[in-house]
Structure formats: structure tokens, C-alpha cells
């Protein structure tokens, strides 16, 4: 059950997750983004390109919407239709091709998004589990946060 794709390791609120490289993304530093001072909207920052702007959100350890930590430095923007959407991350690392072998994983219970479960695979390494995002589900979830 090996997968030869590469994976992006995302650290969000102290927890590591993997994002398959089939999902196109852009990493933006905080300096290149416009911080949103209206905290009520839930948007931490905007990526502004010409006449468009795309939101970036901060999530807590349970992947619930939260205020961005004061010292945040970067966001990963996921590309997709109709627009891209960003996720504030503590750290991001592109893992070498072949470094990760994922296996299928089914979170029990009802799926939390309209696009299914947030996780559909897992990486088991030395007995530890790192969950692998389903790109459509993650995109759908981030877009559902509004902004």
C-alpha cells in the first residue's frame, strides 16, 4: 500500500498532519499577507493579488477556528475552485519523495464535512500515527469557515 507521491508536513497548533502533494499549494510568509484586524470574521489574514483576496484561517489543536497566535509566521494556501484558501501553520516541510508510506484510515463516526472525512489515510512510523488530509475535505472545511 505504498504511495510514491510527496507529502507536505503541516504543523497546526502543535499537531502534525500530512497533505498529499497532489494538492497544489503556495506558502506565504506573514509579511506578504494583510492581517485582518476584524477578529469577528474569523479570518486571520488575507492574501491580496490584484483585485482578489483570499482568506487564511487559524485552527486550534482540534482543528476548530481560533485566533491566530501572536507569533504566527506563515500560511499555506491551498489552490482550488472557486478560490484558494489559506491555513496558518506553525511549521511546514516538504518531505522527500518516498519518505512516507501511507495506509488507508477510516475515522469512525459521521463525516464532519460535506466532502467526507477530513482524513482518509495515515502514516504509521515507529508506532506513531500522522493523519493525512483529504484535500477536497480540507478545502471544503476551510471554505465553510466563511470569510
Amino acid at each position: 500500500m505504498s504511495d510514491t507521491n510527496q507529502y507536505l508536513r503541516l504543523e497546526v497548533a502543535g499537531h502534525s498532519y500530512l497533505l498529499p502533494s497532489v494538492q497544489r499549494y503556495t506558502i506565504e510568509q506573514r509579511d506578504n499577507l494583510t492581517e485582518n484586524l476584524d477578529h469577528a470574521s474569523g479570518v486571520a489574514a488575507w492574501r491580496v493579488v490584484r483585485n482578489d483576496r483570499w482568506p487564511a484561517y487559524a485552527l486550534d489543536g482540534a482543528l476548530r477556528l481560533t485566533r491566530a497566535p501572536a507569533q504566527w509566521q506563515r500560511a499555506v494556501f491551498l489552490e482550488g475552485s472557486p478560490h484558494m484558501v489559506g491555513l496558518i501553520v506553525d511549521d511546514v516541510q516538504l518531505l522527500p519523495r518516498g519518505a512516507v508510506t501511507v495506509t488507508p484510515f477510516t475515522p469512525l463516526g459521521p463525516s464532519p464535512t460535506g466532502e467526507g472525512h477530513l482524513f482518509v489515510n495515515a502514516w504509521v512510523n515507529a508506532g506513531r500515527v500522522t493523519l493525512v488530509f483529504s484535500p477536497p475535505a480540507l478545502l471544503g472545511y476551510l471554505r465553510s469557515l466563511g470569510g
Binding site: 482543528l63 477510516t106 477530513l118 500515527v129
Partner: protein, 152 residues
């Protein structure tokens, strides 16, 4: 020719808080130490995490929480009972149950068991029935109902 003991079931007593479950040995893949539980965001309260077991990630269930009780944290004497995939599920879809203490093997003889009254067991769809063996009460999980809860 030796007569087969068809009225005997080899199984495992799975202690949980307030009750013991009984499952046939054929449903159990392995008993392991708890290790590191990885949280699964957006999971129902009874899904307390996932462990790495062999090459797969196995979701771990608190049966107490499934019965409507409090989510139990692992104790020093807790174990994880890894169950084979439920009927109709993929061959990698193992599921684990957190125990309150060390599970024990049991051989139950049908002739010496008694179906308890409904007052003895929690009212829940996740227990098919119970058995009394001597002065011990065991709940028998309803695997089909569990399958429906796990994979709606």
C-alpha cells in the same frame, strides 16, 4: 470419535468501567499496550484516538463513552483489544477497544450460562445480550450495531 464441544465458546473478558464485555476469541486480532494515542479531530466522543499497529492506524473506542458514560482515560493497567474488521468492512479496518484492566481468556460453556434479566444490563443498542457465568455478568457487544455506529 471424539464429540466436538459445540457448546463451548473461547473468548475474552474485556473489563470496562462498570461492566465486563465478552467477545469470542475469533473476533480478536491482538491485545496490545496502550502506547501513544493520536487525537482524531472531529471524532465523536467515544473515538479517543488512533494508534499505530503493525502497518496501519487503528481507531480506538471507549466503550463506556459509547454507552453514554464518561470518556475513560487509559489507566496504567489498561490494554487495547484490537478487533478484526467488522463484517463487510475492508481487511485493514481494524478497530480497538480500550480496557479498564487486563483482559482475561474465558471458556464459556453454554450449559452453565444464564441470560440475565434486562435490569442487569445497561439499556443500549450496543449490547446484544448478556450472559451470567457463575456470579459474573458479561455484556455481549452487538457487532452489527457497532458497525452501523462506526461506519454510518
Amino acid at each position: 470419535m471424539r464429540k466436538l464441544a459445540t457448546d463451548q465458546i473461547h473468548g475474552l473478558e474485556i473489563p470496562i468501567s462498570g461492566l465486563s464485555l465478552f467477545l469470542p476469541s475469533a473476533t480478536i486480532a491482538e491485545i496490545v499496550n496502550v502506547g501513544t494515542l493520536t487525537p482524531v479531530p472531529f471524532a465523536p466522543p467515544w473515538l479517543i484516538g488512533a494508534i499505530g499497529w503493525r502497518t496501519v492506524a487503528v481507531p480506538i473506542v471507549s466503550f463506556e463513552a459509547l454507552l453514554g458514560g464518561a470518556v475513560t482515560a487509559p489507566r496504567p493497567q489498561s490494554k487495547l483489544v484490537v478487533l478484526y474488521p467488522l463484517r463487510g468492512r475492508a481487511d485493514w479496518e481494524f478497530v480497538g477497544l480500550l480496557t479498564a484492566s487486563e483482559p482475561r481468556p474465558y471458556m464459556v460453556q453454554a450449559a452453565t450460562t444464564v441470560t440475565p434479566s434486562t435490569d442487569d444490563l445497561p439499556i443500549t443498542p450496543y449490547l446484544a445480550t448478556g450472559i451470567k457465568f457463575g456470579d459474573r455478568l458479561f455484556g455481549i457487544p452487538d457487532l452489527d450495531r457497532l458497525r452501523q455506529a462506526f461506519y454510518p
